[in-house]
Symmetry: C2
Subunit: 194 residues, 2 copies
């Protein structure tokens, strides 16, 4: 197997460091130290830390196993639950201390990082589209409430999840995620009582 | 009226700067420049930026007008709505770009700032207690669903709100807050149909 390139080492190190420290608290020096590459090499590949963050964000999104939302062997609600449980299991690996990279970066954004802010917006819209499609399938088969617009519910679910993950990061435990499952999921499937 | 003390100037500047830039991106130099005080004076009052953030967090919490949750001239659900709308109006003043100081700080917390992490945890618990009490009043008078534990719903509401506010900060518009009102509030008052 080919050795990772210097560029790959920088991207991998940045993913880990941004997730652990946050965007502002993580310096280029932190990244090159973790990657084990000379600082000068960083600027051969990335003109600025923000541009590296764009790439890291894209890789993190691919790691979130959204394919499970397309698994038609599962009912739509079960897919949504499995989707969020997949992320919960990922956070558990870090003792519930690190949160979600997308949410962490989002909370740090200012006018000083317009490209990254725009990329986070797009990443959240892509995620919303995937959750919306699953909700619509459940609305079509009668298992998910039709009282609310699917896209609105998708945005709400994702935002609520991100908020729960921020609280998880503070409490360092799973309780906020359990609150999310306990309160948000009955909302979706209550259509039978409508 | 007495002039603000150097200490007051530092605290006021820090509130504005932490809210605008985030905790990590805001240096002591940024704070003293905004306060218009010499850098040396900072360390006369605060041994570290983290200790100043504890005080800023406490002031921010007091500014959130939680008293409205105790206004018995309003029905419990109306109080909850007014409570969140009060914050929405505050965010509108900044073009929906700054988010919530508590949520922003929470998303940035690491093991490097244990005192601040603990203070945010306490601030969220205090807020949860206030919302829980209002929900319980609504459960007692039959206007709020009793299918779910009030404290669990309170945590969920606050976390969902914080997640909506992070999304608002990225989208720079009110839509995520509108999604919160549109989806979370029917959940609370649906008890009549149960």
């Amino acid at each position: 197997m080919a050795k990772p390139s210097v560029r790959d080492k920088i991207v991998d190190a940045a993913l880990e460091r941004f997730h652990t420290l946050g965007f502002s608290a993580c310096s280029v020096q932190d990244i090159v130290d973790t990657a084990g590459v000379p600082k000068g090499s960083f600027y051969n590949y990335f003109k600025a830390k923000e541009l590296l963050a764009l790439e890291v964000l894209s890789i993190y999104g691919q790691d979130c196993n959204r394919e499970i939302l397309n698994d038609i062997t599962l009912a739509p609600i079960a897919r949504l639950r499995a989707h969020f449980e997949y992320m919960a299991a990922y956070y558990a690996e870090f003792g519930y201390e690190k949160g979600c990279l997308i949410g962490n970066l989002a909370a740090e954004m200012t006018d000083n990082t317009p490209l990254l802010r725009q990329a986070i917006k797009k990443a959240l819209e892509k995620w919303t589209a995937a959750v919306t499609a699953t909700l619509r399938e459940g609305q079509a088969d009668g298992s998910i409430t039709t009282r609310l617009d699917a896209e609105k519910v998708a945005r709400f679910l994702i935002n609520s999840w991100e908020g729960a993950v921020v609280r998880m990061k503070i409490a360092c435990c799973r309780q906020p995620l359990d609150d999310f499952f306990a309160v948000a999921f009955p909302l979706l499937s209550r259509s039978m009582a409508e």
